[in-house]
Amino acid sequence: MSSLSATIQNVFNEPGCGKNANKSEAERKKGCTKQLQPGGAAGGCAFDGAKVALQPLTDVAHLVHGPIACEGNSWDNRGAASSGSQIWRTGFTTDINETDVVFGGEKRLYKAIKEIIEKYDPPAVFVYQTCVPAMTGDDINAVCKAASAKFGKPCIPVNSPGFVGPKNLGNKLAGEALLDHVIGTVEPEVTTPYDLNIIGEYNLSGELWQVKPLFDELGIRISACISGDGRYKDVASSHRARAAMMVCSKAMINVARKMEERYGIPFFEGSFYGIQDSSDSLREIARLLVERGAPADLLERTEAVIAREEAKAWAAIEPFKKRLTGKKVLLITGGVKSWSVVAALQEAGMELVGTSVKKSTKEDKERIKELMGQDAHMIDDMAPREMYKMLKDAKADIMLSGGKSQFVALKAAMPWLDINQERSHAYMGYIGMVKLVAEIDKAIYNPMWEQLRKRAPWESASTTWQAKAIAQANAEAAALAADPVAAEAVRRAKKICHCKSVGLGTIEDAIKAHALTDVAGVRTHTNASGGCGACAGRVEDILARVSAPAELLQAAE
């Protein structure tokens, strides 16, 4: 386990992560992960994260070493798509029993690898460690090494047992496994000046294929996608690519950065969600490839494709403008990918509620991203009744969010669209954005809503569940208004930093007590914004409000 904890520290020290670089040494050690709160946690474990990140590799056998829960409860539940092998959708697990727990499961694991290779003959077997065998001390590295030697086939240990942390840590540990055991182990048969790696893209709903035709047209070759629709051999030989795009997500930044360090492959962070982002990404890819020796005409050809695709996309969105102008969208997502749809929604005439940003300049985008990240945290913690009230108060016409809030939104008769990873529609690239606008239109204009919002014939206006929910919320608000002490307690308890679970009162007290003036100071004293960092903006607002009078006083003196 010592090597695992070293890997984790290494991941926490990731210099490519801007948030991380801003932290003090001590904070960095604590890690970038959200502190898990017993009884108040949501989301997957590190094993889940590792599996999410690697399972889209389509021709590999993914073997989970653990009790039935880890694979039996979760297999074949991802929407990634494959253009070839389906073996990635096959559930392999050692399904360890009591005997294995007592006497160790290494023999079973070795035999399991043997069975898989004999029956399915994949180019590689990925072995995932889980909590129970990690506790009992099964050494999957040693088993993988022995099996690789014996069967002449790469067996890749993925050391990411669930209890070491949350999902995003698992994403990074998966990346480390690729860096340690896969990338650079095979030389490619052919290379071209147009070879590009795409890192951190999972090809959900096959959305990579919404963009791939543009690459094909430009002659850009995806040498490896890590990991959507990926092949083992392509990833193993991906160290010869000329450039890399890290798809707008920090999930695999360690892979992108270390490949730059080890193999000199420059990367940029980009996204294919949204029209502007798609164009920016294509431009950046062309620029990097030309910089690394591709013929310069690629730049012009790329501009021509961008101009054509943008014109087509806006023309396709135009007919929706009349129907969607003035419609209010409540966009709530923690997924960094999704904020880039904002421009397209605005272009189609829609307004965003819940954020005060009207236009999407670069700074505004950062602001939206931050606000939405915060809201996504907030909604995780929200009771369904509060969420219903929020939907009602927002007077939104549609809510776009991740799966978790789906059922409350729908039961509140609120049109809803899934924009997180469980979604079944593909929204990438130019065509993807048009699809998104079309889906929104379809959802809002469904005639069903009118019927569903009518009350049952035997109900009066005050006995519907909607009325009861609002009445209950109002009663609570009234009770608070009548009790200033309680109201103050609630105000102070309002959570500002969700990662570290820090309330408004704690932050205000610290600012006053230590005359703090910046976020870093607040972080040192309260730990607020020491997690994902999304609440930095809120902390700034509080600083402005609380410390302003003191500064004014000082100025007066």
Partner: protein, 464 residues
């Protein structure tokens, strides 16, 4: 009749089985105002939660003690305490149901002891309903987790009766985990039509039937209430459905003296005749005309469908009680149960109407279905890949069913439920014949081929 064998592979491929703590949590979801809590790392909960949400298409309450590596090694007392306190303060459930997992069982956390300490330390929790069940992931399966949990609920939540007076109309119903919310609703109607007042423990019909709740709560939105469970000792009968519920029924009898009757099956003509006869006896009422008509409809459905179902070779993968119920009904319709795969031991398995039952996985189901030339596959949604590869019709039964809507409303119980199931299966077979097996001028070119090959169902060729 059947030989029960346990698979010998080191690697389970395409698991049929799901873990015990998920089955246990499922039982807690049938209580009103409940919050299931898994004592394990947060992934244990998150995977289970995702399963339920995808199956029922509902928000499902479920929490975790979020065990870290360090907490696991040092013991989980603080995590259990914090989790209970946080849930108690925030979601304010009427009951917290706790299941252990593989990781905390490997360490050997004494959760019963923890709970005693927590009650001492926090007087507000002294009498707060907390039910704990030990459900290690590395033993048994989903169905076992459910039955252990229901038995534990009976032991902890049912009051010992203070008088021996029983309410003749009141019956306790202990349904197995293979029944859907729709099955529970069907049974409720049947009981009520006999003038009986059933208490279902657990009652997922009230909580997971996909209704719009009267009030938004962060806990379960329906199910049986604690006060109703407490008074189950005043019922005149306990009716257990599925062999798995024997343990809970015996616990009820031991605690309250209420006698029980176990119905291992409620799918098919004869099992329902038995059920109706029993209800008529205990209620003192004749079988209502409605069910007499339904019996006729089922009989007619069997007549119409036996042309299609009779002689079909079936491959079924399901947990023991569901497997036994559905396979027996189809066997009684003339189908051949060529392949039967299940997840865990049960006394019903050796009474299965087939030669062999294998405790195995969906790879076994697929290879054997291929070798034995099965013409219909029945299992949970994960069988979709196998059925597609074999190009045979596929009917989803059991949990999870994540790639179709309405999982909560599928019926297998009662005359009506059996009738609808038979129609659905026969229609699948008819459609398959029309789509894939239309005769062509070449169909009978080599008419004796299938009669010359030696028929040996024991020979199983490898899949790939």
């Amino acid at each position: 009749m059947a030989k029960v064998t346990i698979g010998k592979k080191a690697c389970a491929v395409n698991p049929l089985k799901m873990s015990q703590p998920i089955g246990g949590s499922f039982a807690f979801l049938g209580l009103r105002g409940a919050m299931p809590l898994l004592h394990g790392s947060q992934g244990c909960t998150s995977f289970g939660l995702t399963l339920f949400v995808r199956h029922f298409k509902e928000a499902v309450p479920m929490q975790t003690t979020a065990m870290s590596e360090v907490a696991t090694v040092l013991g989980g007392y603080e995590n259990v305490e914090q989790a209970i306190l946080n849930i108690y303060k925030k979601q304010k459930p009427e009951i917290i149901g706790i299941c252990s997992t593989g990781v905390t069982e490997t360490k050997g956390d004494d959760v019963d002891g923890y709970i005693r300490l927590i009650r001492e330390k926090h007087p507000e929790l002294a009498n707060y309903p907390l039910v704990y069940v030990s459900t290690p992931d590395f033993k048994d399966a989903f169905q076992d987790g459910w039955d252990k949990t229901v038995a534990k609920m009976v032991e902890v939540l049912v009051d010992k009766p203070t008088s021996i007076r029983r309410d003749p109309a009141r019956v306790n119903v202990l349904p197995g985990c293979h029944l859907t919310p729709g099955d529970i609703e069907e049974l409720r109607t049947i009981f009520e039509d006999f003038g009986l007042e059933p208490s279902f423990l657990p009652d997922i019909g009230g909580s997971l039937d996909g209704h719009i709740p009267d009030e938004f709560t962060p806990t379960t939105i329906g199910g049986i209430g604690l006060e109703e469970i407490a008074t189950m000792g005043s019922a005149s009968w306990t009716i257990a459905i599925g062999a798995q519920m024997k343990r809970a029924a015996e616990a009820m009898q031991a605690r309250t003296g209420v006698p029980y009757r176990l119905f291992e099956r409620l799918c098919g003509l004869l099992p329902n005749d038995e059920f109706m006869t029993f209800l008529s006896e205990i209620s003192g009422r004749p079988v209502p005309a409605k069910y007499r008509r339904q019996r006729g409809q089922l009989a007619d459905a069997m007549l119409d469908a036996h042309f299609h179902i009779g002689g079909r070779k079936l491959a079924i993968g399901a947990e023991p009680d569901l497997l036994f119920d559905v396979a027996s009904m189809l066997h009684d319709m003339g189908a051949e149960i060529a392949v039967a795969i299940t997840t865990t031991q049960s006394p019903v398995l050796e009474r299965m109407p087939c030669a062999e039952v294998l405790i195995g996985d969906l790879e076994d189901l697929e290879t054997q279905a291929k070798a034995r030339d099965c013409g219909l596959m029945m299992t949970h949604s994960h069988g979709r890949q196998a059925a597609a590869r074999l190009k045979i019709p596929f009917y989803r039964i059991g949990f999870p069913m994540f790639d179709r809507l309405g999982a909560g409303h599928l019926l297998t119980v009662g005359y009506r439920g059996t009738r609808d199931l038979i129609f659905a299966l026969a229609n699948l077979i008819i459609a398959d014949r029309e789509d894939n097996h239309q005769p062509t001028p070449d169909t009978w070119l080599d008419p004796w081929a299938e009669h010359q090959a030696p028929i040996d169902s024991a020979v199983v060729a490898p899949l790939h």
